[in-house]
């Protein structure tokens, strides 16, 4: 920014302020937008026409967004700072109500109005060709009529997507839409899918619209702070919603593949072994006997045996599944791998991870096998360790890396630290991944500090930390 005197207030259009606030919000949401990129985005806008919102969005996306996983965050923030419409939009129904505000607001929301709106909504959603623009209008209208809530103070109002969706209940229209689509000549599966997609789309639009309206009233910065969710690799396992879990599961394999490529590459770089004299001399023939390039023998890569011991009780089930899947997706970088699950009893799950198996099937099998890991169903780390030591002690050896997954909440039972100490002593290295925030270790029935003295305990709350950790244990030694 130039150092000169700030332009007088009346000449400011607010455009730059809005732009800067948007950039700040992006940074706040975890996108690392540099000054250079900020300048690029302004340069991009200066060569483009501003007539269309999509063009502006694409220009911002091209210059500011450098990671696809940030796309949802970016879109949400863009909608907040550069909303597609203001208030109820231009296409307000009929226009006869637009004159009066307070009184009309009451009339616009009653049982008859609700029924009427649902009919019109169903009609729009039944149409053979799906008109996105029209749906967006409908979503805005739905919000205006049925999503208003009294605000915190007099004269203030607020908006709730939840209220609007509950009252209009678009998912109850699904059957009606399917019927109409079937009549329109679609086959059944296709109609089902189309209907689900349309209802889902409307739900999303209504949520967007609520965000937009709240942003209008409270200022975009407020919304940016509150409603925009972090990107998928930063969401904690323990607080993830169903949709997030689904998305995480899709991310596991690409993530593992990426990590495997990275590891293979790093190993490759360190593979330069002793000089291969024969090849070097042969190659020097081409340069008149001067050995310009040297050739080396490859080094044997070192591989690890991994044993995973995994708490699958309800509180950490998601975390356990993801970590198991992730580690098994990386199986080719390990020499061998065995996995055990426990609650208060130990059960070996290695056979479920067949090479090339479908991850969804594996998860189903794992969930079904949870009952084998429990006798009474209350997490008991001490008992689980003792059982493991009795039955599977042969799994641990001097080349093994032991990985324990769990929150260390053992219902105040005997911790059997001596058994764990013996286990940790018999392996090359042992790690403990804890899905809880480090500040919660040791609160309540958490035995994290006690166990943490025996094995290295590491906080692992989201995919990002998980990837970091795996890279650390199998990557090159940092020393």
């Amino acid at each position: 920014m130039p150092d000169g005197p700030a332009p007088a207030d009346e000449y400011r259009s607010g455009l730059l302020d809005r732009h800067l606030a948007f950039i700040e919000a992006l940074r706040g949401a975890g996108l690392s937008v540099s000054l250079a990129e900020d300048i690029d985005s302004v340069a991009a806008l200066s060569v483009l026409p501003w007539g269309e919102r999509a063009t502006v969005r694409d220009a911002f996306a091209a210059t500011l967004l450098k990671k696809q996983s940030h796309r949802t965050t970016f879109d949400a923030l863009f909608d907040v700072y550069f909303p597609p419409m203001v208030g109820d939009g231009v296409g307000r129904d009929g226009g006869e109500e637009s004159g009066e505000d307070g009184a009309a607001g009451q009339v616009r929301d009653n049982a008859a109005a609700l029924q009427d709106f649902r009919d019109r909504l169903a009609e729009a959603m039944e149409a053979g060709e799906y008109d996105e623009q029209q749906m967006r209008q409908m979503a805005a209208e739905m919000m205006a009529r049925f999503g208003a809530m009294p605000g915190r103070g007099p004269g203030l109002s607020s908006w709730s997507a939840y209220t609007a969706l509950q009252r209009v209940a678009p998912h109850e229209l699904t059957d009606r839409i399917i019927e109409a689509l079937l009549a329109g000549g679609m086959d059944e599966g296709e109609a089902n899918r189309a209907a689900a997609r349309r209802v889902g789309g409307l739900t999303r639009m209504v949520e967007d619209d609520a965000r937009r309206r709240i942003a209008e009233e409270k200022g975009p910065d407020h919304v940016a702070d509150v409603t925009v969710r972090p990107s998928i690799d930063k969401i904690a396992f323990t607080s993830a919603r169903r949709a997030d879990l689904e998305e995480m599961r899709r991310q596991i394999f690409p993530l593992a593949r990426r990590l495997a490529t990275r590891l293979a590459k790093e190993q490759h770089a360190r593979r330069r072994g002793p000089l291969d004299f024969r090849r070097t001399v042969r190659a020097s023939m081409a340069t008149g006997g001067v050995p310009l390039t040297t050739h080396h023998r490859p080094k044997r890569p070192h591989r690890t045996d991994l044993v995973v011991l995994c708490d699958v009780s309800g509180s950490v089930a998601n975390f356990a599944q993801f970590t198991l899947l992730f580690v098994f997706a990386l199986r080719e970088v390990f020499q061998s791998m065995r996995a055990f699950t426990f609650i208060d009893h130990v059960h070996e799950v290695t056979p479920y991870f067949r090479p090339g198996a479908d991850p969804a099937d594996v998860l189903t099998d794992l969930a079904a096998s949870t009952s084998h890991a429990a006798l009474w169903g209350r997490t008991n780390y001490g008992r689980a360790f003792t059982k493991f030591d009795e039955e599977y002690a042969d799994a641990l050896g001097p080349k093994t890396t032991l990985l324990i997954l769990g929150d260390g909440r053992s219902n105040y039972s005997d911790l059997h630290t001596d058994v764990l100490r013996r286990m940790a002593g018999s392996v090359r290295h042992s790690w403990w991944l804890n899905p809880e925030h480090e500040r919660n270790w040791g609160t309540g029935d958490s035995a994290a500090p006690t166990y943490g003295q025996i094995v290295d305990m590491i906080e692992c709350r989201n995919l990002e930390q998980l990837e970091d950790f795996v890279h650390r244990i199998i990557g090159p030694p940092t020393r």
């Binding site: 990129e37 690029d40 967004l65 450098k66 590459k265």
Partner: protein
């Protein structure tokens, strides 16, 4: 030279070469030309990343210089190399004895333009004619090569210690493609415009099929696009790409299949799905015909 006049112009000219763009692609391609910044394309395999670079070169009449990246690519293959065999010859051909020239002169001689072998990056920068520089699969290289790219991407110049700095006479249109098999460094990303190419929506994919596979039946195209769309919604190891749906369309034409029914799908599924477990899953889910609610 301006590459494109406006986003609309970019869209029209790219479409004319047979590359159907969407709004974001056209806008970003225009911006890459207007701001003279490199364009980083990411996305799954087979969505037309490399093809976009070729289309830009066709649409603007520029020549394409291509640097295919691979593991172990180094400066000598990417930037420039001294032709040491020729340099050795030159030294050995020196007259010996009293009239031998002093070392200083020989030194200057052997590090002259004549002994320089230019590789794609330097070639693209030194060209006088409009050039599209395609740096393909940049994620396959080692981190060090990225460092090498930085000077080229930000200032369009290459520093050769013996010769000095070679700056671009005319800035090339640079396209980098990546499958995101590893995260590129922030420094590279900062210098580029970014575009994520994804699978197209049904309408655009149908258009692409029609333009790539002339003679495909309207109905078959529609069935094919719908099926491919469903396959992409499933949890597959490798979702079918555009290139694969084009292949599929060609297969259907070659086999003279006019109707993509269940039998036809099972017979030809190998064209689009290349993992055994994907096959099983696809057959299971397509046959049952039960809907999997869109979970997104």
């Amino acid at each position: 030279m301006t590459w494109f006049d406006s986003p609309a112009d970019a869209a029209a000219r790219l479409n004319a070469t047979g590359y159907l763009t969407d709004h974001a692609t056209a806008t970003t391609a225009f911006l890459a030309g207007a701001l003279e910044k490199p364009l980083l394309l990411e996305g799954p395999a087979g969505v037309g990343k490399t093809e976009l670079a070729k289309a830009v070169s066709r649409a603007t009449g520029a020549d394409l210089v291509r640097l295919q990246c691979y593991e172990g690519l180094d400066e000598a293959r990417a930037l420039y190399e001294w032709n040491y065999k020729k340099q050795l010859l030159r030294i050995q051909a020196e007259p010996k004895g009293a009239d031998a020239p002093d070392w200083g002169r020989t030194h200057d001689d052997i590090f002259a333009e004549e002994f320089l072998l230019t590789r794609p990056l330097l070639t693209a920068i030194r060209r006088e004619e409009p050039t599209v520089l395609l740096i393909d699969e940049v994620d396959k290289t080692d981190i060090e090569v990225e460092g090498l790219l930085l000077e080229v991407l930000s200032d369009f110049q290459v520093t050769i210690p013996e010769l000095g700095t070679v700056a671009a006479t005319r800035r090339p249109f640079v396209v980098l493609t990546s499958n995101a098999s590893r995260e590129l460094s922030e420094a590279v990303k900062r210098r580029c415009l970014y575009l994520h190419l994804d699978y197209p929506d049904a309408a655009r994919e149908r258009e692409i099929l029609h333009s790539q596979v002339p003679g495909i039946d309207d109905r078959v195209a529609e069935q094919l696009v719908a099926t491919v769309g469903r396959l992409r919604d499933m949890d597959l190891k490798k979702a079918p790409s555009i290139a694969e749906s084009v292949d599929w369309a060609r297969t259907l034409i070659a086999l003279e299949i006019r109707d993509l029914d269940e039998k036809a799908i099972t017979d030809t599924l190998g064209v689009v799905l290349k993992h055994a477990s994907d096959h099983e899953r696809a057959i299971r889910e397509l046959k049952i015909g039960r809907s999997i609610p869109g979970s997104r």
